[in-house]
């Protein structure tokens, strides 16, 4: 079974960024009201706000370019999990605070680099959007790196939890740097970037933070892949079922 008919590569490309931001924003929203300290309720919600805001921009752009009258909400609430194109990393469950911040840290480090690349896109709208969210992403990256350091170089417990979180997340970082035919076409058209090119600067940045945090970088092993092409883990189905439940169960155009 394939993930529906192949989309126009540009649309799929835009959905990858939109879905990735949306899924991560959705996950962070579940922390609101349950964080370890009030200041973190505020901060995690801030990041969720930024990411959902970013998702709206990518998805509405995708919808316009597609020209099938699917707006941001039609795309967010009416697609099934095989039609989502987010990377697998962001659908890893929230887990404990170390799992959430570890996931955020690995993602943020990539997000900043990806947005930097997209800021130079030949597609003016993509470039403008990337430039707009780059500052937010840079702020998220500083914050999540800061937490990795505090937890890594905190207590024995926090160090063990952060180290375990990294080990569990590591198999999902490979996909961030794996290009496919969609990426290749976007590179050829001057719209996108080669994911493999981000690997080195990402490793350098992440490595420096892990060293400061007195954490050990997990050894490279098998890397999971598939999210970008619509082949997900079991977690995404539940996440979407929850997110889409009102829209799918109650008829209505305006909310």
């Amino acid at each position: 079974m394939t993930s529906t008919t192949r989309l126009d590569p540009l649309i799929e490309y835009l959905l990858r960024f939109g879905d990735t931001a949306l899924v991560l924003g959705q996950q962070l929203g579940a922390w609101t009201g349950h964080a370890p300290i009030l200041e973190e309720d505020l901060a995690l919600t801030n990041v969720a706000l930024d990411l959902v805001g970013e998702a709206r921009a990518w998805l509405s752009h995708a919808g316009e370019r597609e020209g099938l009258e699917r707006d941001e909400d039609a795309l967010a609430f009416s697609r099934g999990d095989r039609e989502f194109h987010n990377v697998l990393l962001v659908e890893r469950p929230n887990g404990n605070f170390a799992d959430t911040l570890g996931r955020q840290f690995l993602f943020d480090a990539w997000h900043v680099l990806a947005l930097e690349q997209l800021s130079a896109s030949s597609d003016g709208r993509i470039a403008a959007l990337a430039r707009k969210v780059r500052k937010e992403a840079a702020y998220h990256a500083r914050r999540s790196a800061d937490w990795v350091v505090r937890l890594g170089d905190g207590t024995e417990t926090s160090k063990a939890r952060m180290q375990a979180a990294l080990a569990a997340l590591w198999p999902y970082v490979g996909e961030l740097f794996e290009g496919d035919d969609v990426d290749a076409e976007m590179v050829a058209r001057g719209i996108g970037f080669d994911p493999a090119a981000l690997r080195e600067p990402w490793s350098r940045g992440v490595g420096a933070v892990l060293a400061e945090a007195t954490l050990v970088q997990p050894s490279e092993g098998w890397m999971q892949r598939g999210g970008k092409r619509g082949l997900h883990s079991e977690h995404l189905g539940y996440l979407l079922a929850e997110m889409q439940s009102v829209r799918r169960s109650v008829p209505g155009d305006l909310w």
Partner: protein, 321 residues
């Protein structure tokens, strides 16, 4: 207990300090943290401000329950921002309480142990998306009516926190009303959802102003101290007068068959409030009291290792510096 303290204070034969304090109250000059104040005034304020802070924090839960299910991305953003505002309100209010010499951790401990109270409205469940609309419209609406007078209360830090908070609450009220507008203009199931939410939230919202004046023993002293400016019944009437026409505009029916405009009084008449229910929920037997407190206790206990790590790291930093 509380009245006894007032008596002791009074018996201490009006000191110069007491006279200066009374004079400030009379002239409408705010009392500031460094000023002398009667111990009973301070205690009452700590109780009132911390209850208010706890209400903001517990109040994040019923609406937070719908963040992951908001039916559009824009509604998700609005709701995230709203619940975040409530966390911010909690923070300002804890800071205002701290100016009276109590630490935030002490206040948190009082909440989590069940000793401190918070607004009973949050002990009701949010069962559908329309509840998010109803809470914004009715609960934030009632909160504004309660709090706007407090922007002129006698204690400076509290009055200033209220000014900031009221601005945001009025956004919340409009956003909640807008959810109701959309649902009421929508499909039959959407409108039915809106009516169901009003049916369930109306009376708890009416109860938010507290017991009737006849059963509100502490009010008189608080009014003298200007930390309460209108009586519970006055504020309740104001809320009903404001909200009834809004329900009409939405095409919704308020679940009170005695509700009607009284030309002679210039106010709406309304039916009897079920105060037994109110006291039952205050005492801990509302539908969600245990769940709400459990959620706060879980967040606090499960977050303990994170707070400890942050502290340990900060200490290592200081030692290295």
């Amino acid at each position: 207990m509380y009245t006894q303290m007032v008596d002791v204070e009074a018996a201490g034969a009006a000191s110069d300090e007491q006279r200066r304090f009374d004079e400030k109250l009379d002239r409408g000059v705010t009392i500031e943290p460094k000023d002398w104040m009667p111990e009973a005034y301070r205690k009452t304020l700590v109780r009132q401000i911390s209850q208010h802070a706890h209400s903001e924090i517990v109040g994040m839960l019923p609406e937070g329950n719908w963040i992951t299910r908001a039916p559009s991305l824009e509604r998700k953003l609005i709701l995230l921002a709203k619940v975040q505002d409530e966390a911010g309100h909690g923070l300002y209010l804890y800071s205002a309480a701290e100016t009276l010499g109590v630490a935030r951790d002490e206040l948190t401990e009082a909440l989590l142990s069940g000793r401190a109270k918070y607004s009973s409205i949050f002990n009701y469940p949010t069962l559908t998306w329309a509840d998010v609309g109803a809470i914004g419209w009715l609960v934030d609406g009632a909160a504004i009516i309660n709090q706007i007078p407090l922007t002129r209360c006698s204690y400076g830090p509290y009055a200033r926190a209220m000014t900031r908070i009221c601005k945001e609450e009025s956004f919340h009220q409009r956003q909640g009303f807008d959810v109701m507008v959309k649902l009421c203009a929508g499909t039959a199931p959407q409108k039915a959802m809106a009516q169901d939410a009003l049916d369930r939230w109306w009376w708890p919202a009416v109860m938010m102003f507290g017991p009737p004046d006849s059963a509100s023993p502490n009010s008189e002293q608080s009014m003298h101290w200007k930390i309460k400016l209108f009586s519970n019944d006055e504020l309740r009437q104001r809320f009903i007068d404001q909200t009834a026409p809004q329900a009409d505009a939405l095409g919704l029916v308020i679940p009170d068959c005695e509700l009607r405009w009284n030309e002679a009084r210039g106010h709406y008449d309304f039916g009897a409030v079920d105060w037994d229910e109110f006291y039952r929920v205050v005492r801990g037997d509302g539908p969600c009291n245990r769940d709400r407190l459990r959620a706060r206790v879980d967040a606090w206990e499960e977050g303990a290792w994170v707070r400890e790590a942050a502290l340990a790291h900060a200490e290592k930093r200081t030692r290295r510096a």
